[in-house]
């Protein structure tokens, strides 16, 4: 099974990334994708742009671990994550997650699971720039509650 992780400054092409999920055997019935973007406002403050910092080495390792967990949990055919770092402006793509499976249930669940973990476990930090200057974004408690529900699912 193809699992792929890229942390990069460069922008990415969602159609090319989606094509790379195919094995060639036409077993894929479903591909769920998620793209995250820089919004022009955050917590009711205007945002011109942001600087995305990460922990080189740990980032790739942490995301690979998330993909391995997802592929143990659901019958996936391929999964891929691209996450940008460095300076980004409003409207820019930040992150892409794509998951291929035979059926949609596994593709949707795994894609959402991977995004929840990217928000909560992968070592990225956003510093937003607005009219009042730059500030570090605080972690949303809602994100941690969303990630924890996967543990509840497993226990249930």
């Amino acid at each position: 099974m193809a699992l792929s992780v890229s942390v990069q400054a460069e922008d990415f092409d969602v159609a090319a990334l989606q094509r790379q999920l195919f094995s060639g055997a036409h077993e894929e019935g479903a591909i769920a994708c998620f793209t995250g973007y820089v919004r022009s406002s955050s917590a009711e403050r205007a945002v011109h742009g942001m600087e995305l910092e990460h922990y080189p080495g740990m980032t790739e390792r942490s995301i690979s671990g998330i993909l391995a967990q997802a592929s143990e949990r659901w019958p996936l055919l391929a999964a891929s994550v691209v996450h940008r770092v460095g300076r980004l402006v409003a409207g820019d793509q930040i992150v892409w997650v794509g998951v291929a499976s035979a059926h949609r249930e596994a593709a949707f669940s795994a894609c959402e699971f991977i995004m929840d973990y990217l928000k909560n476990e992968a070592p990225f930090w956003k510093k937003e720039e607005g009219p009042q200057g730059a500030h570090w974004v605080d972690a949303r408690s809602g994100d941690q509650a969303r990630a924890a529900r996967w543990d509840d699912d497993r226990r249930a």
């Binding site: 910092e53 922990y55 930040i94 928000k119 909560n120 070592p123 930090w125 956003k126 510093k127 972690a139």
Partner: protein, 84 residues
């Protein structure tokens, strides 16, 4: 040797991206290392590293409690993550 790294707000507040510490048996675990960094760094380091939401990682794995350290380990201190 121990490689120590700081990220994001922690890096800015300490004015330090990281440092290398010669290996000493006396720095046997994460809590001892943190205590040593605070002794050498002073009040600012005590305040920043002592925040309740500080995350510590050893060799790229988050350490939710105190953890033994070994020569060559990489230790990182950072705030809660905000990626995706």
């Amino acid at each position: 040797m121990l490689k120590i790294l700081f990220f994001a707000r922690v890096k800015e507040e300490l004015g330090c991206a990281g440092l290398d510490l010669p290996w000493q048996e006396s720095v046997g675990d994460l809590d001892s290392l943190q205590a040593q960094l605070c002794r050498e760094g002073g009040a600012r380091w005590v305040e920043v590293l002592g925040r309740p939401n500080m995350i510590r990682a050893v060799n790229h794995v988050v350490a939710s409690e105190n953890t033994p350290l070994h020569d060559g380990d990489e230790v990182a201190f950072f705030p809660p993550v905000t990626g995706g």
